[in-house]
Amino acid sequence: MNQSQFKRRAVALVAAALVMLVGVGCVAPAAPVQDGAAAAPATLVVASHDSFAVSEEVVAAFEAANNARVQFLALGDAGAALNKLILSKQAPLADVFFGVDNTFLSRALAADIFAPYASPLLAQVPAEAQLDAENRLLPVDTGYVTLNADRAWFAERNLPLPATLEDLIDPAYKDLLVVENPATSSPGLAFLMATIAHFGEDDWQAYWAALHANGALVVEGWSQAYYEQFTVGSGGTGGRPLVVSYTTSPPADMLFATDGRTEPGSVNVNLDGGVFRQIEFVGILKGTKQQALAERWVDFMLDTQFQNDIPLQMFVYPLNARATLPPAFAEFAPQPESAVEVASATIEANREAWLQAWSEIMLR
């Protein structure tokens, strides 16, 4: 290769590298539009956790009505997302945050990152869900952690579905239940807290020791429990016909089936003291430069269009009294009549000690 050939190749290589860099640059967002041109839509940044979901047309409706663009951020699981917002208090990551639940409520309020906003739509939301009197966090949806059972499995063996928490420690139900590790999984923690509230500080440990002795299996998270261990979720390869999951899992089992089933393979087993209610909140972050737009987004989340979209997007229940539930929910996932609720200050104060005690029992 002579000198000029060498140069030409070197230039070609550098050019190729530049093209790649520019190509990647195209993915980077355009710089946010500063106020200036009146017609340019304002950008609202909405932060949430990984499970947040919404329909395209619902977002489009908000954007069109408010001449705005909504940018979503997913910041990890509910706990991680909240911690990040607290850490970035000085320069907020977003204008609005959705996804503080009642187990993290006191941590969120203590960090003083949300500004109060008394949305007029709150009149359509049940008062018992409005846990923050100052309206810094406004309730959007609710869900229930409960047991799911494999209907066919129990029917084939002529074994009745468990009727009380005590049934789960009966030898007839040995090796049937799989639960999530409460240290790493939110349904796992919810179920543990339900049993603590039900049995009380003095007796819950004895109950869990008995569950452990009766073969309750602990796995890391919901996916491992539901898809690897639960007989319905795993398509038959798992060995556990009882799982800690959500009341909305049965309708999902039917809606996302491949065999056209018209009835879910699983059924909710709502035991007294075995159902935990979660409520999720939205709040406007202090320091936002889009206060008016952020308020309209909060109103929008509480209004019927967004609320009607909630069930089939996030598989939880809307809180607005005027919202309607899809038929599959009404038929296979009615809201439980009673559910355990634990004050978030109690949770924050005891979480570490409960988890410590629980691990010691389960490791015995």
Partner: protein, 552 residues
């Protein structure tokens, strides 16, 4: 020195240092400061309490010994495989080598599912053994034991050994071995006295990388280890995310980094001393063709068993993606392209593949630039500066991802939500691999060749291009393959900084696994299978890549 040369040299030194300073040192310092001294005053009471309780030290002890044991197991499985790939030619070699790398890119949730499907209590092997032997209890009980952790670590990291050691081995000058043979050394003795010492730099480099991976292990420990086991990284996550106890999380991160740095400092010192110019070959020389049938059968059988061990769990998953629910179906692949819920965050598989490929290309380019210039800095005669820089280049791999992620949130200002951060974070993880695979090859370059080129009138750039590059090509390709696969499979950091409307393949898998229903589970399996195929194709293409002017 010519001014242009000086500018080029200056850039080579400054670029990696600046990158490390901006994307590693600065965010890390910011989060550590905020955690340990929230109001500007050190608040060390919780740290003191944690340090005095035995728990931290027990976790540290477990972290260290499981990493050592995992590294030993990985080396024991990886070295024979590396030897076969380096010394023999056989049909389908590149395809098999690419296969051994696939575990490396699979997200832990998927590998967890694969292991449960294969060797769980109601998994394929246990059911088969129970049926065949008429046993009441599943004979293989590995779940939630230390063995499954070691096995999973080996499963992930064997390809690191195969690629680093195998790549180096292939390029060794066969004349050295032949000289040994002439001098009367054969078989094991030849290996022990000639080949092994020559390979040592790449073996220790591979060992170090594997050790670091296992030392900071997170997903494997949580998902497969169960309640009994916690590494420092798991404890950092628990403290930072669950308990929001930032001082203790920061203390543990520092502890993890100090240990990593100390181990790396010792290693890089030994490594720098041990290396010598070796006259590497520009391309693989004609490897052994053993005429003996028996020899061939043994090598072939060994290869087959090893590859099967590595690939079987993943094949089990791929199989399920077509058969979930009892009969053969393509439904799950079709469903990937359907936005059934009209979700605003839906991405058809082609888009997810494109997102993944764009990020991976950018990360590969960046980490090659960084890693290669970094390796050139480190290959210079040893001074105090290189003695510090050498372990520093490895440090990102031994740093808590949770902590660094929080550091980005605190320190990155307006960049925090920029899509650019995704390839930057991947580059952070991939660069140590590039440095470590490139450096042994670079150090073994014979300086006489460059001097000869200079005497013959070649400028520094041309010397680099025509003398260094052909010899280093193999190391460069191995580095590129590492960087690309790391980015393709990276999941933890991506999830923290990527946008929900730009999902990568691992993000699509994770999302599908978060919702009940057979179609969702099937989609996760289908996307995992697609990820395997994309990874395989990309690796084969990288292996085929030729520098302009190369003739084959």
């Amino acid at each position: 020195m010519h001014p242009v040369t000086r500018i080029v040299r200056g850039t080579i030194v400054l670029f990696p240092l600046l990158f490390l300073a901006i994307f590693f040192v600065y965010p890390l310092a910011a989060i550590l400061r905020l955690s340990l001294a929230p109001e500007g005053v050190p608040a060390l009471q919780p740290v003191w309490e944690a340090a005095r309780s035995g728990a931290v030290w027990r976790i540290l002890w477990f972290t260290t010994w499981q990493a050592l044991a995992s590294t030993a197991l990985t080396m024991a499985l990886g070295l024979p495989l590396a030897a076969i790939f380096a010394r023999y030619t056989f049909p389908g070699k590149s395809a098999l080598r690419a296969l051994t790398t696939i575990p490396f890119v699979m997200p832990t949730v998927v590998v967890g599912a694969a292991f449960t499907t294969l060797i769980g209590p109601t998994g394929i092997i246990n059911n088969w053994l129970r049926g065949g032997l008429g046993l009441a209890e599943p004979p293989i009980q590995l779940m939630n034991t230390i063995w499954i952790i070691l096995l999973a670590h080996a499963f992930y990291n064997v390809s690191v050994v195969v690629r680093t050691v195998g790549g180096f081995w292939e390029a060794l000058n066969p004349a050295l071995g032949e000289a040994g043979q002439v001098l009367g050394a054969h078989g094991l003795r030849l290996f022990r006295t000639v080949t092994l010492p020559l390979l040592m730099p790449s073996i220790t480099a591979a060992g170090m990388l594997v050790f670091l991976f296992c030392f900071t292990s997170f997903g494997v420990i949580l998902i497969l280890g169960g309640l009994r086991f916690a590494t420092l990284e798991v404890e950092i996550y628990r403290q930072a995310v669950n308990l929001f106890n930032l001082p203790v999380a920061a203390f543990l991160s520092l502890l993890q980094m100090v240990i990593t740095f100390a181990v790396m400092a010792v290693y890089t010192r030994v490594q720098a001393r041990a290396s010598l110019p070796l006259e590497m070959r520009p391309r693989a020389h004609a490897p052994c063709h053993s005429g003996k049938l028996l020899h061939r059968i043994v090598v072939g059988a060994l290869l087959l068993v090893m590859v099967l061990l590595l690939v079987a769990p993943l094949l089990a998953l791929a199989w399920r993606s077509f058969t979930l629910g009892g009969h053969f179906t393509l439904d799950y692949y079709r469903e990937l392209a359907v936005n059934r819920r009209q979700s605003a965050f839906f991405a058809p598989p082609v888009t997810a593949i494109r997102n993944s490929l764009i990020y991976a290309s950018a990360a590969t380019l960046l980490s090659l630039l960084l890693g290669v210039s970094g390796a050139y800095v480190l290959a210079r005669p040893r001074t105090l500066a290189t003695a510090i820089l050498d372990p520093l280049f490895l440090l990102p791999l031994g740093t808590s991802a949770v902590t660094l992620g929080l550091g980005y949130i605190v320190a990155m200002g307006a960049w925090r939500t920029s899509l650019w951060l995704v390839p930057v974070a991947h580059t952070m993880i991939a660069t140590p691999f590039v440095v470590r695979t490139f450096l042994p090859a670079l150090r073994s370059l014979d300086p006489h060749l460059r001097e000869a080129a200079a005497v013959l009138g070649a400028g520094p750039l041309r010397t680099w291009w025509e003398v260094d590059m052909p010899v280093l090509r193999r190391a460069l390709l191995v580095s590129a393959a590492f960087a690309f696969t790391i980015s393709l499979g990276e999941f933890g950091a991506t999830l923290l900084i990527n946008r929900p409307d730009r999902p990568t393949m691992p993000m699509v898998i994770y999302r599908a696994l978060g919702q009940p229903g057979m179609l969702n589970y099937g989609q996760a399996l289908a996307m995992s299978t697609i990820l395997m195929v994309v990874c395989m194709v990309a690796l084969l293409l990288i292996e085929r890549f030729r520098l302009p002017g190369e003739e084959f």
